[in-house]
């Protein structure tokens, strides 16, 4: 079954996002580096990718471009970071075709609304 791939270099954030998704009935997997996420994207039938922008020394937006090229929908989540403003990140994510940009901190319902808008309500539909 295809799953939602959650990419965040903070294990606590990645885990809590996956917990919310799984509690709502979605299958979710995780990756804490761009390399691991790239591997998962190539190996699995990813239904949706939810990714952080500022990954320990790596640019999540570069990976977002790869996800976009793969044809999988993606949601960007970010609370800001060094080098570029969140406004600039939003613009780039929108231009790449992100289905949503979530600003941290966000509520579970905001996350689930963005996922439902993309995938529908039930994990069985994945």
């Amino acid at each position: 079954m295809s799953a939602i791939l959650v990419v965040d270099d903070d294990p606590a954030v990645g885990e809590s996002v996956r917990f919310v998704l799984e509690r709502a009935g979605y299958a979710a997997t995780g990756a804490s580096t761009v390399a691991a996420a790239r591997e998962a994207l190539m190996a699995d039938d990813t239904a949706l990718c939810i990714l952080d922008v500022w990954m320990d020394g790596e640019d999540g937006l570069d990976f977002a471009a790869e996800v976009a090229r793969s044809g999988a929908p993606f949601i960007v989540m970010s609370g800001g970071g060094p080098g570029r403003s969140l406004e600039s990140v939003t613009a780039k994510a929108d231009a790449l075709g992100a289905v949503a940009v979530l600003y941290k901190p966000f509520e579970d319902e905001e996350l689930l609304n963005a996922v439902r808008a993309t995938l529908g309500k039930k994990s069985s539909e994945l």
């Binding site: 471009a65 976009a68 609370g79 800001g80 570029r84 403003s85 969140l86 406004e87 600039s88 939003t90 613009a91 780039k92 929108d94 231009a95 790449l96 075709g97 940009v101 979530l102 600003y103 941290k104 901190p105 966000f106 509520e107 905001e110």
Partner: protein
Amino acid sequence: MEVDGKERQAQGVAQILTQLSRQVLEKREVDDLHAVQWSALRYFQRAGRRASTVMGLSRYLGNTTGSASRTAKSLLDRGLIRGEPARHDGRSVLFSLTKAGQAALQRDPLLDVVAALSVLESDELALLGDLLDKVQVAMTEARNGAV
């Protein structure tokens, strides 16, 4: 001054970008919002409840919390946003758009550019976005380095 072919190309593209910016800015009315105020309004339109704070706006705009606070206050004074104390943190104020703020976004100068760009295909938009982003990042780095 002699310029080589690539520099002349760069000058041509730079002229297109500045002419485009001028077209957007020329539409401004005397009492209209400044660019940073439009950005802030767009942020409060998209941000979730818990991120709709001065701190969140500061991260979005990439400026100081003091500067973001002044921008938020200017929108409050115009009646475009409202503020209420956060339940999870009494020291924070959560902002949301008022009806006037929502109406203002209906005449966001960005919308003219969006309409003009909509003639492009999706892959063209992605490519243009990527190229313009590279230009913006290079300019930001050059200006930060020059400070």
